[in-house]
Amino acid sequence: MTIPDRTPLGESLGRLTLLLLAAVLGLLVALPVIGLAFRVTPARVLAQLATPAVQEALWLSVKTSLAATVVAVLLGLPMAHLLATRDFRGKRALEVLMDLPMVIPPTVAGFALLMAFGRVGLLGGALSGFGITLPFTTAGVVLAQVFMAVPFLVGAARAGFQALDPRYLDAAATLRAGEMHTLWRVRLPLALPSIVAGIGMCWARALGEFGATITFAGNMAGTTRTVPLDVYLLLNENLDAAATLSLLLIVMATVLLAAMRQAGLGLFAPPRAPRLAPLPGR
């Protein structure tokens, strides 16, 4: 039996269903986090944090994820600008390429990185000629993180560049601003909320990177064993430590995401940059 959604009963049933489904998803995400939090007491967390192995992994994670974020911003913003402002042949292909790391399994990404930059990879020989080795090094960890996290930065920054009201660009163009001046003084500042949010997502993604890292950079304490790798290892040895590190990762990622979002949103507030009225027809 179906109840038409035009009746008051159908309307309320519909709304109830929507709420219930949303609640199910909320719980689905929240429960594992809560379960983790219940696994350890604050005292045990503190005790675990004091151990050198945990500190080592933590420091490595912070270091590499920060470096990866910096690299991602340096390489990602020009790409985002290009995709947002230019039309060219092969643009669709480039867009798909830029999204690819988000959808391929991280272990596959790691393997692919080996095939490119590994000893037997496409560029491996050339790189070792310069004395550069990437696989199984800290630099390799950063590369894996950049590979996996940069799409988030490119996507957000590009959306920010594209959402810019074209009338600001018209104003800049008639005020003697060339493309670079417009980029620095108009595009970047106005897209900053999106860019900062993208940096947050990118950083959080780099911090949580596991599959590509372990495949491409291996799992060596102090060099390539970041927190996510350590968690996996500790699952078999020390559940308390694993839970502590997991919780820590979750907290860091949450704080990062929330702070960046807030910073992004707050850039022009209060009040928000006024939206211009809709464009007239002609």
């Binding site: 104003a171 008639t174 003697r176 601003a177 022009f268 027809g281």
Partner: protein
Amino acid sequence: MLRASLHYQVGEFHLDLDFAADPGRTLVLVGESGSGKSTVLRLLAGLMRPGAGRIEVDGEVWCDSAAGTWVPPAERAVGYVSQDYALFPHLTVAENVGFGLRAAGRPRGEVLARTAAMLERFGLADFAERRPFQLSGGQQQRVALARALVLEPGLLLLDEPLAALDVSTRDVVRAELKRLLSGLDCITVFVTHAPMEALLFGDPIAVLEGGRLVQVGDRLTLLREPRSRYIATLLGLNLLPGRVVGRGVGEEIHLETPRGEVTVLQQVVGDDLFVVVRPDQVMLSVERPVGSARNVFAGVVEEILPEPPYGERVRVVLGPAPAFVAEISAAAATALDLGPAKSVFASFKATSISAYA
């Protein structure tokens, strides 16, 4: 001196016009939305490329499709103020005004000095450190003008500069703007959809209709001999284009118009004329009139609008298109039992209308 010849097409819309404008004067382009006004400004600014055309300002060619000349907007001595002013929200008033000088690579000292002078001149010195959203609409407009004028453009383009203001401030800002523009020595092109603004600012006024200029002239010419329904409707006049089909004895001219044949008693040269009929010279009757009223149109009442101030007179709009308006007393309308869809005859004397080429 601005000389422009612009041809631009997008879909079914054709823009096709030639015009010139002099320094120290304000050319107003007036037309309904969709007539292509803003497109003209964007073409002049270089924000859009004409399909074909030529733009020359003070002897400099900015665009010449035949010669392949194209000067990008950033290299044109142009000031462009868009409808919403588009002030940069992340910059202060002073930074907005100094933007163009910085972009042009002027030395820092010069940027600061010229910005300060501009802020002073526009009465904005107290707001230098404010952000645009902290300003009133009129102040925002002044910032936008200062930002454009600090670069001393040869051509200033204003796109509906009063449209973004609310009604209560518009009167004051309009007067301010009028004063300001009359003190400028650059060429100003001002676009508006409001005929009253055109009459106030325009010297000369160019009427744009469907991408074409239908009339260019000073405000008196426009008022006396309108050539566009847009202006005629504003003035409350009936305007009919007519083609001469015969000339009778004396000054009698017979014209074919979209509403029917019209006889005029006037000495006019030319074959394509405009006929203006004042609505208060039109009489309405239910039966076809006979006698001295020489011109008769049949029509159907579309609507009856009371005329200000007291509604003692009414404007009767007759269909079918193009609409023809008669202004009669409310009492007469009642006596004729006028109402929508009623068939009537409109008549007016040959001597009560004016025709011009």
